[in-house]
């Protein structure tokens, strides 16, 4: 046994670790895909559309041609128990809004917390369409903070909830994934190499 371990080369350790991470990532994406599809099948996850008027507005005033934030922490709240996976919306603004974030509450939560926060990403190539998404979860409330500025003139379009995704969307790879893959692979394979030395008592 020890002899066999001794024979394993460094590049083998590295490749296998990387493959395990990639496989783990693919499996996790697959799991989310299956869960969402089944939730859609049994009718708990539905696609629907709202307008800004359906939200409870805090520190946002309705004006003649849109809405206007009156505070740098203006919020749009929606109390609704539902399965939630994504929200896509259109928002024009007079000033770049800054970080757009969505908080959510799960059953039993009293307050919104920073651990349950999502960042709105611009939809590819547009500067007024945003998407917020996460693996499907049961939520009781959603809160959108649309702008970091007071006095921003906003015009909202439709809010589309839980839009159906393509299979490929579940397997979307970002820079963060690549960065983490490289870093964790290197760290874990360095640890495994160390484990090999530990077992065989042979040090480089």
């Amino acid at each position: 046994m020890i002899k066999r371990i001794e024979k394993i080369k460094a590049w083998q350790i590295f490749t296998v670790t990387a493959l395990v991470f990639v496989l783990g990532f693919v499996m996790m994406c697959g799991y989310h895909c299956i869960r969402e599809t089944s939730a859609r099948k049994d009718g708990t996850l539905v696609t629907y559309t709202l307008t800004a008027d359906d939200f409870e507005l805090r520190d946002i005033k309705k004006t003649d041609d849109g809405w206007r934030t009156t505070n740098h922490d203006s919020q749009m709240r929606l109390e609704k128990e539902q399965k939630f996976s994504s929200m896509k919306f259109t928002m024009d603004y007079s000033v770049e809004p800054g970080e757009i974030v969505v908080y959510y509450k799960e059953p039993g939560d009293e307050h919104y917390s920073e651990q349950k926060r999502l960042w709105a990403q611009p939809v590819d190539g547009t500067d007024n369409r945003y998407i917020v998404q996460m693996p499907v979860k049961q939520v009781t409330a959603i809160r959108l903070d649309p702008s970091m500025f007071a006095g921003n003139n906003l015009v909202f379009g439709d809010f589309v909830f839980n839009e159906e995704k393509q299979i490929a969307d579940y397997f979307d790879v970002t820079y963060t994934h690549v960065f983490c893959l490289v870093l964790y692979t290197l760290v874990v394979s360095a640890c495994l190499k160390y484990g090999q030395e530990f077992l065989t008592k042979k040090f480089d």
Partner: protein, 645 residues
């Protein structure tokens, strides 16, 4: 992009040249090469020849490389293979990856002091091809030394204009060069240990910058501040000597350019350079037997080495002071500050107060809050200063227990000398808060930044000791300790940081205020001429808008006070800003133009009649620029340009 690639390439070939020609350790070569190039350019820049100096260092690097190729033409392949040790490979790869990430995300300047000095200085230096002491600008910290500005200039040398992310890239390459130097202990092949040490070093700045789990953007690796460079170059300087195996001049001379660079990062660099020299000297005393420096042997050789380190530190500090005195007629020994004392008088008064001879109320209160801050203020993911020191002590203790006999002595010595350095550093900051800071001193502004500078350096030195133990001491357990520490750092950082608050997650929504004011300044650009003296008025009461304007309009003189009309003003405060008072103030400062960032109703009520074109329209995304005129009724403003940016 191309100019960054050229700079990185130049550093690598110069490092190779140094390694091949002088025989210094290859892992310290990138750091020594980088700072040496910057030092030479900096010396020329202080004489007024930044452009020529930088051009000269590019040529110098090429010449050294060619010379190295010629000298080693027979065993070139071996030499090149030998150069790319794991530490050097990590340096090259992480620099290349960082270049791609920054090019993709394109972060811009966004932190407070990036607008007051750190970012503005780099922008000005690029625009004028000369140090910021040579021309007038709205920048505040003109007396701060120029290491980092010259470093960025070196990286942006071949590009036509100033690109903000290139500054971040320059800083990051410097950091990676330091990390590579950290791995110099493992001169034999121990790639995975070297990698783990590198990873731990990469994680350490996060540990001290992100102290809360909430996800606002923290600028680790995309910041132009001088604190992290100070910390890492400090530990890099120690590493250059501590981690190498040479016992002759090659152990000492590479430290000298690093100390010059360190001294000229910011004023505190002088203190850290002295501490580094102190740590290195005692390490040499206990750690090396047969030592010779420029043919002086033994203990006296070590003394000569220490003397030369202190000498270059002193010369660089004095050199910059002389430059300031000559070019700006500025006396650097006078700190300005709340007490108006010079450095010497401050130290005497401080020591007296510390010994309890003459303690005034300010000293007593700040002393008490500094002591309590050490125990209570959270400065890192580990917790307060006490927790940080506990972690550092644990690292040193592990290195001590697991090391061989010589390693133990060196570890213990390093621990003691760094403790002495820390106490000196801490006490010095008490003096700074008491004698230099004004009323805000009681809240200990920027305490965490000032302190983590030392903590980061200290922790890194602890890691060098642990690396010594891995090399010579108990093979199994020392590696367990190193791997455990690095993996622990990675885990705790993964727990605290997510993509939203690190350099990876930056996008165009991350810097909204900066973006807003950039657009406004750009909109007004053609209306502003370079000799306008501008007064800025805004509803923003934090001063952040003002700071960003000083960056955007850096070439203009911008009056330091700031007209604020947020909704909270009392009647008395409005009286202090009555038109008659303000007119006199404007005249005294020679204000020629009034830039209005935004207005509220109260401002329009009180000042609206003094504008020829109404200001009612000026909302969040509007901006207006007025010429200031004076008559017997005070000032009135005529419209120059305005509208939605």
């Amino acid at each position: 992009m191309l100019s960054s690639v050229a700079a990185l390439f130049t550093i690598i070939i110069f490092a190779f040249g140094l390694y091949a020609l002088t025989g210094i350790s290859r892992r310290i070569a990138p750091l020594v090469g980088l700072v040496l190039l910057c030092d030479v350019a900096m010396v020329r820049a202080m004489g007024g020849g930044l452009y020529a100096g930088t051009l000269a260092v590019y040529i110098m690097a090429a010449v050294v490389f060619a010379l190295a190729l010629y000298t080693h033409r027979k065993d070139l392949c071996n030499k090149l293979k030998g150069f790319f040790a794991p530490g050097v490979v990590l340096f090259v790869v992480s620099s290349a990856v960082m270049l791609l990430v920054l090019r993709q995300t394109q972060p811009v300047m966004h932190g407070w002091d990036e607008f007051s000095f750190w970012g503005t200085s780099q922008k000005l230096v690029k625009q004028h091809n000369a140090l910021y002491t040579y021309y007038s600008s709205s920048m505040l910290g003109k007396s701060i030394p120029p290491s980092m500005a010259v470093l960025t200039y070196f990286f942006g040398f071949a590009s036509g204009s100033f690109v903000e992310w290139v500054c971040y890239f320059a800083y990051d390459v410097l950091f990676f060069a330091c990390f590579a130097a950290f791995t110099a202990v493992f001169e034999e092949k121990q790639p995975h240990s070297a990698f783990m040490l590198y990873t731990a070093a990469f994680m350490i700045p996060f540990i001290f910058e992100i102290t809360e789990i909430n996800s606002k953007l923290y600028s680790t690796y995309i910041s132009a501040y001088g604190d992290i460079p100070l910390a890492l170059v400090f530990s890099g300087a120690v590493a250059v000597c501590f981690c190498t195996q040479h016992t002759d001049s090659r152990r000492v001379w590479p430290v000298l350019p690093v100390l010059v660079f360190l001294t000229l990062i910011k004023d505190m660099g002088l203190a850290l350079s002295c501490i580094a020299a102190f740590v290195i000297f005692f390490d040499m005393v206990v750690g090396i037997k047969d030592f010779s420096f420029v043919k002086i042997r033994g203990f006296f050789g070590k003394c000569a080495a220490a003397a030369s380190m202190l000498a270059v530190t002193g010369i660089s500090y004095i050199g910059w002071s002389v430059h300031l005195a000559k070019v700006l007629t500025l006396d650097r020994s006078d700190f300005g500050g709340s007490s108006g004392m010079g450095m010497g008088r401050m130290l005497i008064a401080g020591v007296k107060a510390l010994l309890g001879i003459e303690r005034d109320r300010k000293f007593r209160e700040i002393f008490a809050s500094m002591i309590s801050a050490f125990f209570n203020l959270k400065v890192s993911m580990f917790g307060s200063g006490l927790m940080v020191v506990a972690v550092i002590t644990a690292v040193f203790a592990a290195a001590f227990i697991l090391g061989d006999k010589k390693g133990r002595i060196r570890t213990a010595t390093a621990y003691i000398t760094t403790w002495i350095g820390f106490i000196g550093y801490y006490v010095f900051h008490i003096f700074l808060y008491v004698y230099v800071f004004r009323n805000d001193a009681y809240t200990l502004p920027s305490y965490d930044r000032y302190m983590y500078t030392f903590y980061i350096g200290w922790l890194c030195i602890g890691l060098f000791c642990l690396a010594l133990a891995v090399k010579d001491g108990h093979r199994l357990l020392s590696r367990t300790a190193l791997f455990g520490f690095a993996a622990g750092c990675l885990l705790i950082v993964s727990f605290y940081a997510d993509r939203g608050n690190t350099f990876i997650g930056v996008n165009r929504n991350s810097f909204p205020k900066r973006e807003l004011i950039r657009r406004k300044a750009e909109f007004l650009q053609d209306a502003i001429s370079s000799d306008d003296v501008i007064y800025i008025g805004s509803e923003d009461n934090s001063g952040e808008h003002w700071f960003i304007y000083t960056y955007e309009l850096a070439d203009n003189k911008i009056v330091q006070d700031y007209f604020v009309w947020d909704g909270t003003k009392t009647e008395d405060e409005w009286d202090e800003m009555a038109p008659a008072v303000m007119t006199q103030y404007f005249k005294d400062k020679g204000v020629t133009h009034f830039l209005i960032d935004n207005v509220n109703e109260e401002f329009i009520q009180r000042y609206g009649d003094r504008f020829d074109v109404p200001v009612d329209e000026i909302g969040l995304n509007y901006v207006a620029y007025y010429k200031v005129n004076y008559n017997e009724n005070g000032f009135y403003f005529t419209f120059v340009k305005g509208g939605a940016a």
